[in-house]
Amino acid sequence: MQLTLWTYEGPPHIGAIRVATAMNGLHFVLHAPQGDTYADLLFTMIERRAERPPVTYTTFQARDLGSDTAEIFKASAYEAFERFSPRAMIVGASCTAELLQDDPGGLARALDLPIPVIPLELSAYDKKENWGAAETLYRLARGLSGGRRQRPSRPRPLANLLGPTALGFRHRDDTVEISKLLGALGVDIGVTAPLGASPDDLTRLGEADFNIVLYPEIALPTAQYLEKAHGQPYTRTAPIGVGATRDFIAEVRALASLNASAPLQESKIEESRLPWWSRSVDSTYLTAKRVFIFGDATHALAAERIAREEMGFDVVGLGTYSREWAREVRERAKVHDIEALITDDYLEVEEAIAAAQPDLVLGTQMERHIAKRLQLPCAVISSPTHVQDFPARYAPQMGFEGANVIFDAWVHPLMMGLEEHLLGMFREDSEFHEGASASHLGAFSAPQRAPAAQAPPLSALAEKSAPLDPQWSDEASKELRKIPFFVRGKARGNTEKFARERGLTTISLGTLYDAKAHYGR
């Protein structure tokens, strides 16, 4: 039993719905109690989809438990087949139906429908959303891709694009961006799946020369299966960031036996603006900004590399809720001399962010809420998503355009260079007072201390203040207030730590500046 306030991932059947909703001509019959239809609104509201997800829920109730829920499942599956005429069907159970052990797969088989019906075992009590999506795509590929076949020789190599789903963080635009990139490199796209694919398309998966794994959390098991069954190698690099996109291009060229050293301009590929934007003097102020990164493993690891190599940030926190990738994330954290945070407990993440006092949080919508509470700038880099993560404009994360988007998205929440200096110099100025925020963020974004009456976060209540905390002298405390608010938390923390380590009971003006000299960059 785990106490949960907010969850990073839904249950596995939500992952299955994300796959089904991404596809055309596939229908999902889900054995589920009344109420589980809430999932529809994730797609119609958050992603603004104009069609209902292709899901029939059995919506059984208590009165049905005594009679025959299996019959309800069969009737629902048959009616869904008649009404929607799908080309293939997946069937499964949500958490409650799993307890009934009605065996949707067996029941659907008994209906003997004239289309492929693929049963899913969704393990609602120990698996989660991304696993559910990965399992569903894998079962579909296994069920529909057929046997190994001879691949004809072609003028251009052919690759499948695997992983984009409905409700994925920027999957829509990543797919477009990477398709363009591959086209420019001289690679044709076979099947893009699940986004936009039909069950018939999946029967052509085996025709490609290799597979592109866009989102390993969702596509890796499928790529591994296709490698085994069809002898197709697959890419290992998620092309997020300039460096990763270059590596991805090299990897694709190697898999496609294309000239590895051909200049990109020849392929009419416009490189990212990020390198120059980052090298231009205006970006000097970005140097050693302290960032806290949390998200799914793919996006968190990509953000770590961009932060380090392309933005010149310091990574002060790195974590993921994708436990399956803990090893990789831990390895990267070691580079920064920090402990990776592998958790799906929102409270733990909140505590870690509060302790790290970063200049910028790169996280999910959950971290956006945490950052808001802690009054820290934040950019969203990963699922779970929110209606804002489905912008009207083209905003990929992948490829060179994705790197441009990332540069802007990460820099805009921060104070601009000169403005930061002015705030530092004229901290007593009536317009640059402590409550003032960056002008480009608008008047109402000025951080305001949460009123004391508001309930503190659970984590704050859990903390106990140490009995020997050093006390601030009036003079030092006045000086502390002159430090711009966006670095004040760090200054306070560092000074207190400095004092504690030296066994000081009072923090004087001198202690404050001693600490500054000690920790100064």
Binding site: G10, G35, Y38, E51, T96, L99, L458
Partner: protein, 426 residues
């Protein structure tokens, strides 16, 4: 499945009711936590359920995520199901941790879910045990919000019904008192309290109360008015404590509000002239605020998908006060007894459905092409994309709509989608 059953020969004049079976596109009873936890300010709602339950509340409550939530889910895992972990020990551990972290919590609801009911976790007993352990620091109660037992607003009904046995007893000799039952926005509650005071019913009390320590007393001299149409179980529980229900339409619109207040005034022997003096200004304001919307709404055909059980009172209000034409009114459940006064006022043109099959209802909606469709969030954008204007039904629960001074706001909720369409040229 999916057969259509015509139930009970309708009373003369009353619209016939059709019941269907099939996929029900409705929320489960856990959803009520989203507003109940804001209403009872020192209560915490702990769902004993699955990751799906947590995900549902999070998705339904998405708009309120900024506030520190006073709800959580104790997610059952494989160890709990396999009996490796003792569920009661686990629950005790979770509750102790929770109460330790939240000293502000005085009332804790253990909320049953579909999985907890299917594996038969006895939360009633667990609540009693935990209450003994934690009283007087916090009281622990339980109710079911599961989808197999409760549809959407029935969760509030179950929660309030669980509170009823805890309410202090009113002395048998007490003067008659008025209890208003059903969660209302604080501002609406304050307005009603003021009107009741004006007509001479002092100290009207409200259930749910805003704080656990302010539970209203109940007894044989209590008369209660339901402010919401979905409170059948709560009404029964109050009646079993001797309280008497005052039958009335629900306080939506000028007419509904007047009849609702009048039911109380009559029960308390308020002279007609005093009642009239007290309500006349509010009623006039309500009528005035409605005239603005009549032009846009009058004659428009409206179609209701089932959601909160407010469908029938809303259709009555829209038909009688702004001239809309309800063509299909579907409700998850119809409590005939509680809605008798409403049904009598509903135009006979409206077809009534209880628990319809969503696909068949969509077929009817597409065929009818109503001017406005009231539906849940899962259906709204798909219908809009087909060119059918919609009004999200959940907003009708998260917005103050009851009483005189909200009548115009209520009409505006229906007028806005039409007004928006008339502005857009893209």
């Amino acid at each position: 499945m999916n057969q259509t059953v015509s139930l009970r020969p309708p009373a003369p004049g009353a619209p016939p009711l059709v019941q269907e079976r099939g996929q029900r596109e409705v929320f489960c009873g856990l959803t009520g936590i989203v507003w109940l936890h804001r209403k009872i300010q020192d209560a915490f709602f702990l769902v004993v359920g699955s990751r799906t339950c947590a995900h549902l509340i999070q998705s339904a409550a998405g708009v309120m995520i900024f506030a520190e939530p006073r709800f959580a889910t104790a997610i059952l895992d494989q160890r709990d199901l396999a009996g490796i972990a003792d569920i009661n020990d686990e629950l005790d551990r979770v509750v102790s941790r929770l109460l330790e972290r939240r000293p502000d919590i005085k009332l804790l609801f253990l909320v049953a879910s579909c999985p907890s009911e299917v594996i038969k976790i006895d939360l009633v007993r667990a609540a009693r045990r935990l209450s003994r352990q934690h009283e007087p620091r916090a009281r622990v109660l339980s109710y079911s919000g599961s989808g197999i037992e409760k549809t959407f607003t029935e969760g509030e009904d179950a929660c309030l019904a669980a509170l009823v046995p805890e309410l202090p007893a009113e002395a048998a000799t007490a003067a008659p008192s008025l209890l208003v039952v059903g969660a209302l926005a604080d501002i609406v509650e304050d307005q009603f309290a003021a009107i009741f005071a004006d007509i001479g019913i002092a100290d009207a009390r409200f259930l749910p109360m805003r704080r656990a320590s302010a539970m209203p007393a109940v007894g044989p001299n209590t008369r209660f008015l339901l402010a919401q149409p979905f409170l059948a179980e709560t009404a029964r529980a109050l009646e079993s404590r001797g309280a008497r229900r005052l039958a009335a339409p629900f306080p939506l619109g000028a007419e509904g509000t007047t009849l609702w207040l009048k039911a109380a005034a009559d029960a308390f022997g308020v002279p007609a002239s005093r009642f009239e003096t007290a309500v006349a200004p509010g009623r006039a304001r309500a009528q005035k605020s409605l005239t603005r919307h009549i032009e846009r709404l009058s004659g428009k055909r409206i179609f209701f998908f089932p959601d909160s059980q407010l469908e029938i009172p809303l259709a009555r209000f829209l038909a009688r006060e702004v001239g809309m034409r309800p063509i299909e009114v579907a409700t998850p459940y119809l409590h005939r007894q509680l809605l008798e006064e409403e049904l009598a006022l509903l135009p006979s043109e409206a077809r009534l459905f209880e628990g319809p099959d969503v696909d068949r209802q969509l077929d009817r909606c597409r065929a009818a092409r109503p001017d406005l469709t009231v539906c849940g969030l899962g259906l709204a954008n798909p219908l809009e994309a087909e060119g059918l204007p919609t009004k999200w039904s959940i907003e009708l629960l998260f917005t103050p709509i009851q009483g005189y001074d909200q009548a115009g706001d209520l009409a505006e909720l229906f007028a806005r989608p039409l007004a928006r369409r008339s502005r857009l040229e893209v």
